[in-house]
């Protein structure tokens, strides 16, 4: 019965949904822009050593962790904000922000039954599959384990027991600091050093929560692991910290999703993500970032200043980053791979969409240190409205990186003539045997393409959504199925109002 013709069916449906989604929404509406009324427990406003101590104390951290934070804080005081990215924003006032906000629910929940129903309802609105019980009851096959982080605190981690059976640790970083100190101490800051950059250092001082994943030797993680971040509280910064360790010959696929309610003021999000892949281990890290981008005049929105880096430490290690960036007023983000082990491989697949007054400066770094290391970069930037979209990428080969290879392809698509797309590649090779290829294109959606689609019955927004989904197809294919569906919808939503 099944024929070759049936294969694209799922995607057909997705495209259809994409289009429906666009039609069902007002142009200025941010789908996730509701804020949830949950009592929360906050740190005093501003930033000081006392706040760092406050955060550490709230989390019952051991002394070594507090010392680590304080060291980071003191170093941060001596640093300056970076100014090299092609983004513009008013001076951040750290004394006006709150660095810790926890939803009030005491004591910490150990199962879904103990979680504030308001909170569960909110996650439900976000479409996060927290319904562990139903799934466990056998209604559906489990395929995603979720850790949900709201403001500063990791709320619930599903499927932990299931995972524990094969020795996988999936919990909040706060819990890992208490329960798995030896692992955290060994790896925290080993990929992104405390002094790496202004925001990473700030994060090291004040990070509040995030996820921790440990995959033991030889284990293939049986389900996708997922974290959902959400900034709910007014004027809070979110500083999450994620650490993923894949021992020799292991595999894990990790998904990260982000949303925030609409707020007039801009909010800061400065995360640090560290990945460690040991010999022949593979980590696949996917992000769908949909933080609030600000209103149509460019007011409000999230400043997303993130440091993400993976270290391929062993022979044949592999790290693959896939990102769909549609939100935030400003995105400053370069998920990178250090290809230290011989024969290791790094990949970066990116879709970055900017509309309205959004500014995106994103890309990757592939640092080839080992022999026969390879990397691949496919970056698709879509700029609409008055936005600015920059791809910034660095590929470098160390003197010992014999036979290093990179292939980079950067494609930009412009919608309208008030936006900008820029490609800034940095290529450095200290080894004569390294082969780096770079291709870049810039295109526009042509009037002829629009007319053709409209002649077939699609309205302008449906036509743009279809054409853009086509443009990003080779990146979308790298996302896990759940995220592919979500992403196609998001792409359509984020381009609303970009035509006509």
């Amino acid at each position: 019965m099944m024929s070759a013709l049936d294969i694209p069916t799922l995607k057909e449906n997705i495209d259809r949904e994409t289009v429906d989604q666009v039609l069902s929404l007002d142009v200025d509406k941010y789908k996730y822009g509701f804020s949830t009324d949950i009592e929360s427990d906050m740190a005093p406003q501003g930033l000081s050593e006392d706040i760092v101590r406050f955060i550490s104390a709230k989390k019952n951290e051991p002394q070594w962790m507090l010392d680590w934070r304080l060291d980071a804080y003191r170093r941060w005081l001596t640093m300056d904000e970076p100014a090299w990215a092609k983004v513009h924003y008013p001076q951040l006032d750290f004394q006006d922000m709150y660095f810790y906000a926890a939803p009030k629910s005491t004591p910490a929940p150990t199962s879904l039954d103990e979680v504030d129903p308001e909170l569960l309802a909110m996650y439900d609105k976000l479409g996060i599959p927290l319904k562990e019980r139903e799934i466990l009851a056998g209604v559906e096959r489990p395929n995603v384990a979720v850790d949900a982080v709201m403001d500063s605190v990791s709320v619930v981690t599903t499927f932990r027991e299931e995972l524990a059976k094969v020795g996988i640790i999936f919990c909040s970083i706060s819990e890992a600091i208490r329960e798995h100190a030896e692992l955290v101490q060994k790896y925290l800051g080993s990929v992104v050093p405390v002094t790496d950059n202004y925001y990473a250092t700030l994060n090291s001082a004040v990070f509040t929560d995030g996820s921790f994943v440990y995959i033991p030797k030889g284990v293939r993680c049986p389900m996708e692991l997922s974290t959902y971040f959400r900034i709910n509280e007014k004027k809070t910064g979110q500083f999450e910290r994620t650490l993923i360790i894949a021992e020799d010959d292991s595999y894990v696929s990790y998904l990260e999703g982000c949303t925030a309610p609409m707020r007039d003021e801009s909010q800061l999000h400065a995360a640090v993500v560290e990945l460690v892949a040991l010999e022949n281990a593979e980590i696949k890290y996917s992000t769908v970032q949909n933080w609030y981008p600000g209103d149509k005049d460019g007011k409000g929105g999230i400043y997303n200043f993130v440091t993400k880096r993976g270290d391929c430490r062993g022979n044949g290690s592999k790290i693959s980053w896939t990102q769909v960036e549609t939100g935030s007023a400003i995105t400053w983000k370069y998920p990178s791979c250090i290809l230290r082990g011989d024969n290791s491989r790094g990949e970066f697949y990116s879709i970055a969409i900017s509309n309205g007054y959004q500014q995106v400066d994103s890309g990757t770094k592939m640092i080839h240190l080992g022999k026969n290391t390879s990397s691949k970069i496919i970056a698709k930037g879509i700029a609409a409205g008055f936005s600015d979209n920059t791809y910034r990428g660095q590929v470098s080969a160390h003197a010992k990186a014999k036979g290093a290879r990179n292939f980079t392809q950067c494609d930009s698509l412009l919608i309208g003539d008030k936006c900008g797309a820029h490609t800034v590649p940095y290529i450095e090779s200290r080894n004569a045997t390294a082969v780096f290829e770079h291709e870049a294109t810039t295109s526009k959606i042509s009037d002829d393409q629009m007319f053709y689609c409209q002649q077939r019955g699609l309205n302008e927004e449906e036509a743009v959504a279809l054409i853009v989904n086509g443009f990003v197809r080779d990146v979308l294919q790298h996302l896990p199925m759940e995220f592919m569906v979500e992403s196609q919808k998001l792409i359509a939503i984020s381009l609303e109002g970009s035509v006509g």
Binding site: P8, Q454, R456, L458
Partner: protein
């Protein structure tokens, strides 16, 4: 006579400062197929674009009715949903969008504008398979991005496939026969003939009498310098083939 599906009255259109359509009058009754022949640059494609609602043109005079409803006030997608289809002389490439995906998006967009529900996946698959098979379009072509890397003949067949699936009431085919080999011409003609019905009208633009042996027209019009200068039965096409357009170049009678 039944009401015409398409009625064009004294249509004038210009692009920038240049008038290209200079008073087109044409009525196509339901169920009829009319052929339009004319020199290169006489304005045939322009007529088809103006009917489909391409933005570049300014309509300075005249009106167009589709099944009695004013067409010129509608957006291109509304015209499509109202039943107007144009098989392009030069079909446009849509990179990354599989032909299948495009077909379904188009069908559902039109259904939605008409207030109908989405087509079910099995129904869609069945319709595509059937229509594809009769046009020699196989599954692998349907998975490729629409028109990207298609040969000239494949592009034209894909246009007719879209036409078959969208089931319009007014079909305009702009040189759908150009670039087709002898076998493909047979296949496409068969496809077009299969779509002829009492409820549907067609306007077929062509340079070749040969096509009209396969797709036999009810009426043939000669287009010259932005208007129809002569109309007749299919023998008019034979006459053109023998003598060229010279007889029709002077001012209209």
């Amino acid at each position: 006579m039944t009401n015409p599906i398409l009625e064009i009255r004294n249509l004038h259109a210009r692009i920038e400062d240049r008038e290209i359509l200079k008073g087109v009058n044409l009525a196509i009754p339901a169920g009829e197929l009319h052929a339009v022949m004319g020199r290169n640059g006489s304005g045939k494609s322009t007529l088809s674009y103006v009917l489909a609602g391409k933005e570049d043109y300014e309509i300075t005079e005249g009106e167009v009715l589709l099944d009695g409803v004013d067409l010129l006030g509608m957006e291109p997608n509304e015209r499509a949903a109202a039943g107007l289809f144009l098989a392009f002389q030069y079909p446009i490439e849509i990179p990354g969008v599989a032909t299948m995906t495009f077909l379904k998006a188009a069908m559902n967009a039109q259904r939605k504008s008409r207030g109908e529900g989405e087509i079910s996946t099995p129904d869609f698959m069945r319709a595509v398979k059937e229509a594809g098979a009769s046009l020699n379009i196989d599954a692998s072509m349907l998975k490729r991005p629409l028109n990207v890397g298609f040969s000239g003949g494949e592009k034209k067949r894909a246009e007719v496939l879209q036409m078959a699936l969208l089931a319009p009431k007014m079909c305009i085919l702009d040189e759908t026969d150009s670039g087709l080999d002898i076998d493909a011409l047979q296949v496409v003609s068969k496809g077009v003939n299969a779509l002829r019905s009492e409820q549907r009208s067609m306007l077929v633009i062509t340079h070749y009498q040969r096509l009209l042996n396969h797709i036999v027209p009810d009426v043939v019009h000669v287009f010259s310098d932005g208007r129809i200068v002569e109309s007749g039965d299919k023998s008019l096409a034979l006459q053109l083939e023998a003598k060229g357009y010279a007889d029709f170049d002077s001012e209209p009678a």
